[in-house]
C-alpha cells in the first residue's frame, strides 16, 4: 500500500511498485491507510511518505502499523533523512527516489519471505490472497 499525499508522486510510486512485480493500492493520507488496514488482511507492505496532512504523519503511521500489524513490511520516505526515527525493521528511502531504489528495497524485504510476491492482492481477485 502506497501512502503519499502528492498525487503525481503517488502515481509514479504505483508504477514503480508495479514494475517491481507487485500489485498495489494507494491512499493520500495515514488515516485512510489505517482504515484500509483494519478492513483487509492482504496488505504485505506499507510504503509511506512522512509529511502528510491528517491526524498522523507517516512516521506515526509506521509506528502504528509496526505496533498493530507487526508482519507488515515498512518503507518510509522523506526529503529529510529520518532513518533513525523508524520503527524496528523499517526501511528508509530518501526523496527523490528512483524506480531502481524502490525495486531494490522491495526485493530485499520480500527475499526472506519469497512467495507470493504481492504487495497487495488486486480487488478483482486475480492475484493470490495472502494472509
Amino acid at each position: 500500500m502506497i501512502v503519499e499525499s502528492e498525487a503525481l508522486i503517488r502515481m509514479s510510486a504505483v508504477h514503480m511498485v508495479q514494475d517491481a512485480g507487485f500489485s498495489s493500492l494507494d491512499v493520500g493520507n495515514a488515516d485512510d491507510a489505517i482504515e484500509i488496514l483494519k478492513d483487509r488482511r492482504d496488505v504485505r507492505a506499507v510504503f509511506t511518505d512522512i509529511n502528510m496532512s491528517g491526524s498522523m504523519d507517516g512516521l506515526k503511521l509506521a509506528h502504528a502499523v509496526r505496533g498493530r500489524w507487526p508482519p507488515i513490511h515498512l518503507i518510509v520516505t522523506s526529503g529529510l533523512n529520518m532513518a533513525d526515527k523508524l520503527p524496528a525493521n523499517g526501511r528508509f528511502i530518501l526523496k527523490p527516489y528512483s524506480a531502481e531504489q524502490v525495486a531494490a528495497v522491495l526485493s530485499e524485504l520480500f527475499s526472506s519471505h519469497p512467495a507470493p510476491h504481492r504487495l497487495f492482492s488486486d480487488p478483482g481477485g486475480n492475484c493470490a490472497k495472502v494472509a
Binding site: E6, I9, S78, G79, L80, L94, K95, P96, E100, A104
Partner: protein
C-alpha cells in the same frame, strides 16, 4: 552611600569603601553577620534601595525584605566563615509589583589577618535581559533550522514530482528516441537531487565531492547498466569539497559524460570500465571520465552534437575550465580542467 562611623582605621577598608562608592558594578560590603557596611550607588539604583537606609541594615531587611532569601543567607554565612565559595550563584529576586529578576552572585571574603573583622564583598549582576536575549537568539537559531529543514523537504518533494512527471511521460511515449530523451532528462534531475541530498546531509554549505560523485554514479549505474558484470562504473576522488553551485555543475558534467560513455562506448555486449576521477590542488582542479570502449568515431567532427555535449560545454565555460578529449587507446578520455592562470586569461580574453 553612608559608610558606618569610622571606628575602623583600617586603610584597606577605606580603600574598599572608596572602590565600592565609585564602582559601576552592583556591589555590597557585608560584615560577618551579613549586615551591610556599604552598597554601591549602582546597586541602590538598580534595586531601588534608598542609599541612606543601607548602613547597618541587615541584608534580610534591605528594601522590603526581598533579599531575605534563606539559601542566600546560608551561602553567604558559609562564605564569611570561609568554608564555602560563592561563584556565579544564581538566584531569582522577587519583589512585589515587579517582574522577577535573575541575578548572578559572586562573593569574596576579604582577608584582614584576623577573624574578628570579617568582610564580605558581594557582586550582583542582573542577567535577566541577557538571558531573554539569549533565549530569543536560541529560538531564532532553532526556527532557522526548522525553516531550512522545511525548505530541504520541499526541494526534495519538488524534485520527486519533476522526476515522476518525466518517468510518467517516458512510460507513455511511443518513440524510442523520445523515451531515451525523457530518461536522460530524468537522470539529470536525479543528478541535481543527489547534490541536494549531499548538501542536506552536511551542516556545511560545501558539498564533499567523493560521496556526491559516488552516489551519483550509483544512481546512474542502477538505472542504465543492465549487467554489472559487463560494465563497471567507478569513482576515484580526493577529499575535495566545493560550493553547492560549482558542485551541481560538476555533477551534471559527470552525468552527461557517463551517460554518453554508456550509450556509445560499449555497443553490443562489449565489456568495459568507466572511471570518474576528480583531483584538486589549491584553486586548480581536474575532472575526467575515461572509458575503455570503442573510442571516438573517425568522423566525430561531423557528428551533430547532442544536448549532452551542449550541457557539458556550457557548464565547462561557466566553471572557467577547458575540455580535452583524448584517445585512451582503447577508449576515450574526456577531461575538464580548471587552472587559475588559464581562468584569468579567459577572463581577460572576454574583457577584450
Amino acid at each position: 552611600m553612608a559608610p558606618r562611623p569610622t571606628s575602623h582605621s583600617d586603610v584597606s577598608l577605606n580603600l574598599a569603601l572608596a572602590v565600592i562608592a565609585s564602582s559601576t558594578a552592583r556591589l555590597l560590603l557585608l560584615d560577618g553577620d551579613l549586615t551591610l557596611i556599604a552598597a554601591s550607588k549602582s546597586f541602590c539604583r538598580a534595586f531601588q534601595i534608598d542609599p541612606v537606609s543601607v548602613a547597618n541594615c541587615p541584608l534580610g531587611k534591605l528594601g522590603a525584605g526581598e533579599w531575605n532569601v534563606p539559601q542566600l543567607n546560608t551561602l553567604l554565612t558559609a562564605a564569611a566563615s570561609g568554608f564555602a565559595e560563592v561563584e556565579s550563584y544564581e538566584i531569582d529576586l522577587n519583589r512585589k509589583g515587579r517582574e522577577s529578576r535573575r541575578l548572578v552572585l559572586n562573593a569574596q571574603k576579604l582577608e584582614y589577618g584576623n577573624d574578628d573583622n570579617v568582610r564580605l564583598l558581594l557582586a550582583v549582576s542582573d542577567v535577566t535581559d541577557a538571558r531573554i536575549a539569549e533565549k530569543l537568539k536560541d529560538d531564532l537559531v532553532k526556527e532557522k533550522a526548522v525553516l531550512l529543514q522545511e525548505l530541504q523537504h520541499r526541494v526534495a518533494n519538488s524534485l520527486q514530482i519533476i522526476a515522476s512527471v518525466l518517468m510518467q511521460s517516458a512510460r507513455k511515449v511511443q518513440s524510442d528516441e523520445t523515451r531515451t530523451h525523457l530518461f536522460d532528462a530524468h537522470q539529470r534531475v536525479m543528478s541535481v537531487a543527489a547534490m541536494q541530498q549531499q548538501l542536506a546531509a552536511s551542516s556545511a554549505s560545501d558539498v564533499a565531492l567523493r560521496p556526491y560523485f559516488t552516489a551519483l554514479c550509483k544512481s546512474i549505474g542502477a538505472s542504465m547498466i543492465r549487467d554489472h558484470n559487463q560494465l563497471s562504473l567507478d569513482v576515484s576522488a580526493d577529499d575535495s569539497s566545493s560550493a553547492a553551485d560549482v558542485s551541481v555543475s560538476l555533477g551534471l558534467i559527470v552525468t552527461e559524460l557517463v551517460i554518453n560513455a554508456l550509450k556509445h562506448a560499449f555497443p553490443g555486449d562489449r565489456k568495459g570500465k568507466i572511471k570518474v576521477d576528480y583531483h584538486s590542488h589549491g584553486p586548480n582542479w581536474a575532472l575526467s571520465v575515461t572509458d575503455d570502449g570503442i573510442g571516438m568515431p573517425a568522423d566525430a567532427a561531423n557528428v551533430k552534437p547532442g544536448l549532452g555535449t551542449g550541457i557539458v560545454e556550457a557548464l565547462t565555460k561557466q566553471l572557467q575550465a577547458v575540455i580535452k578529449v583524448t584517445d585512451a587507446k582503447p577508449g576515450t578520455a574526456v577531461s575538464v580542467a580548471h587552472t587559475q592562470i588559464a581562468a584569468v586569461q579567459m577572463g581577460e580574453a572576454r574583457a577584450v
